[in-house]
Symmetry: C2
Subunit: 243 residues, 2 copies
């Protein structure tokens, strides 16, 4: 019997990739508007290269962009970038289509919900609180606190332990085949691969670890009903997978 | 003849102190709302103490607040604080009463305007750009770039050099008697002390360096007319102060 549903956060519940792209575009637009002497495409591509090389949490993107473009340091341009970026991030943060509707359905089915995510704990909590998703979830497990990243089994085992359930009582839903699907399957959980966002054609070698594939989050409650969700009559037999 | 008017930024053009207080209150309120197990007053006073000890640009206020209150680290509470703080900062940033009206009057009198400020260059530019004050100013001089802080003469001399005027052609307007008024007077400029914000009863030993004292920014254009502002007939005699 399925008792617990765990979710990845970025690009599963929260529309992170789209937001980041929009925020970066608005940052560069605002820099150009305030006198950055380079055309939009050159600056935007420079920023993307930088993010590829230094990672998206690197705190000096805009300073380094000026160096990269051989421009003199100018705090006005950096400030313009920061404003464009933050304005977008704070006003356009959105949950993925149907995420909230699905969470309400699952809650009303008596299921217990959790989040299992990598990333900076404060930033991850910021997204959850800004979207007011907090109350749906009994536990939010952030890998940084465990000293590992998904798909390390420790994070999934920690989640199961916190909920006090066996792996076969739990479903993991996520957009990443390696960290979400392969990771959860390794510890014996059910898996639903959400084919969404820019990663949907990556890591396909792990596709065989997905029990289900969906393109709309509203399929999650339906699948859980099929698997024998909590409260379903005649679905209480537990299926023990070979592990 | 007065040709140039220089302004301090924080609590002269931009309402920084009020904003910071409001932002801190909202941060603590949001932390308590999200489960911080301490009453508002205790947490707020803890934050004020922290800021006194570590400075307002210390980047770990909310983490340290939890330590100070002997609470376990919880990124959710830190995120709640960050959200409360930033939401306020981004939506409630305001220029000081009559600042914009005064800047328009001074511009139409043909005066050239500048900002002379301490503080983090990116943050200072953020305030200027967010309030769309940029176009009023020919030069924004930020002390960090000169390796000194106000009242060091270097920053005022730099401003005069950038504008290409003599000290007696320039007026400095600011809320701080030591850094703004004493500093500008030391290099020979005219000075207008704006009695505003929480500092208005501090550093009174430097009050004698203020040529004028005002409580409303709209008095600035009137004073400059009296001093012989640009375009004023019969006011072109230059007064050379003993320096």
């Amino acid at each position: 019997m399925i008792k617990v549903v765990l979710f990845d956060l970025d690009d599963t519940l929260v529309d992170t990739t789209k937001l980041a792209e929009r925020a970066r575009r608005n940052a560069i637009e605002n820099m150009v508007k305030h006198g950055l002497p380079v055309d939009f495409e050159t600056a935007y591509n420079g920023l993307l290269d930088l993010i590829n090389e230094y990672g998206s949490n690197f705190p000096h993107h805009f300073d380094y962009l000026l160096r990269r473009l051989d421009l003199k340091y100018n705090p006005k341009w950096v400030a313009a970038g920061v404003i464009g970026y933050h304005n977008t991030k704070f006003t356009q943060l959105k949950d993925v289509r149907h995420a909230r509707k699905m969470l309400i359905q699952l809650s009303s089915m008596g299921l217990r919900l959790g989040i299992v995510t990598d990333g900076d704990p404060i930033k991850q909590w910021e997204k959850i609180l800004r979207l007011e998703l907090e109350d749906f979830f009994e536990h939010v497990i952030i890998s940084d606190f465990e000293g590992v990243k998904k798909p390390h089994p420790k994070i999934y085992q920690k989640a199961l332990k916190l909920f006090g359930v066996e792996p076969e009582d739990a479903v993991m839903v996520g957009d990443r085949l390696y960290s979400d699907i392969y990771g959860a399957k390794k510890v014996g959980m059910h898996t639903i691969w959400f084919r969404y966002g820019r990663r949907r054609s990556e890591e396909l070698e792990y596709r065989r670890y997905a029990d289900f594939e969906i393109e709309d989050l509203l399929e999650v409650p339906k699948i859980i009903e099929k698997l024998g969700g909590k409260g379903e009559e005649g679905s209480n037999k537990e299926v023990h997978a070979d592990r």
